[in-house]
Symmetry: C2
Subunit: 204 residues, 2 copies
């Protein structure tokens, strides 16, 4: 009762160093899982890249699965999601697509884990199921708003165009990872948005 949290007596919580260590480990994990996948990468490799002993890693993240979950949460923290963009939807999407070209290791992590996660009983499956559900809803809602102010081309169904943007984005990222010089990631996305939006935002 004397300490601040509900921890049983005798617990002191992580030390100051701990947060930095965890960040180092997560950065290493992004690199390893991104370049070799979750199944393909080992916690030994992650520990090596972080410059610590394997057992030290396991002190901070007791199982490989918990490390993966932490990596996914870490990714969500450092790559900002788009909240209510309203009339600037197209701009924001195109801008983020351009920014993504600057963080290829995060794109790689995302694509690799997303593919792996479709396997049954994969620890990241639930994460991606919910992520896609959220993205579909968000994008569809943005498009519904744009439709309400007459900016959506007639005949375009927000409930279909929303998932389409998500699918197009992921698919073009995969192609870009395999042939960066042959695929125009932001251009392809922008082309679709120009197709479904009326009077698109003029150049910034």
């Amino acid at each position: 009762m004397s300490t601040k949290t509900t921890a049983s007596r005798g617990t002191r919580g992580p030390y100051a160093k701990s947060a930095a260590r965890r960040r180092e480990i997560l950065e290493a994990a992004v690199s390893i899982f991104g370049s070799k996948g979750y199944s393909g990468g080992s916690i030994q490799e992650v520990a090596d890249r972080a410059g610590i002993a394997q057992t030290t890693l396991l002190h901070h993240f007791p199982t490989k699965e918990q490390l993966l979950v932490a990596v996914l949460e870490y990714r969500d923290e450092i790559s900002p999601n788009t909240p209510g963009t309203r009339e600037h939807f197209a701009e924001v999407v195109a801008e983020q697509a351009e920014n993504n070209e600057g963080v290829p290791h995060l794109i790689e992590l995302y694509s690799v884990l997303c593919g792996e996660a479709t396997t049954r009983d994969h620890p990241a499956r639930e994460y991606f199921v919910k992520r896609f559900q959220r993205l579909r809803a968000e994008y569809s809602n943005e498009l519904r708003y744009l439709a309400s102010i007459g900016r959506l081309r007639p005949g375009v169904d927000p409930a279909i165009a929303g998932p389409t943007i998500v699918a197009l984005w992921d698919g073009i990222q995969t192609q870009w990872l395999l042939s960066p010089e042959q695929v125009d990631m932001p251009g392809t996305l922008k082309a679709y948005l120009d197709l479904i939006l009326i009077n698109p935002d003029s150049l910034v």
Copy 2:
């Protein structure tokens, strides 16, 4: 010189049973690699599913990597690709999308391996790089033909819309695998084609 191929004397080639065995193994491999990925699945599991000893599998496919290559070739054999479809492009695409719903294990295999293949030095990477290059060229060419007969909406660039169809297809498949009941795979593809094509093919 006496035998038909360039084999050194004393070789007799595979027996009649061999082809069937190889097919059984490949079917098992599609199942295992599709449900657990290439890194995640073991040749022991494939052998178990095929009902043979691990060493028997290795007799037909000496390494795990060669098994993977054979699986990819097998997939290409059994799932027909679209040759020159000309004016029936939209029909054929929509039809194939519907058919894909009937072979989810092949979609799973494709999505899982495609994600994994973006990792460096993955044995299937070259396969997917070339596959996407081919698909982008094929689809762009189909659209160029449709443009030549005035069936492509003005302003739509075949060089962008081609890769877009490929990306959309792959992306929507991933979403469908994770939430089959929430994603209309053929409908989403058809919606995009209706968007970029003029006077689309009426219902069959």
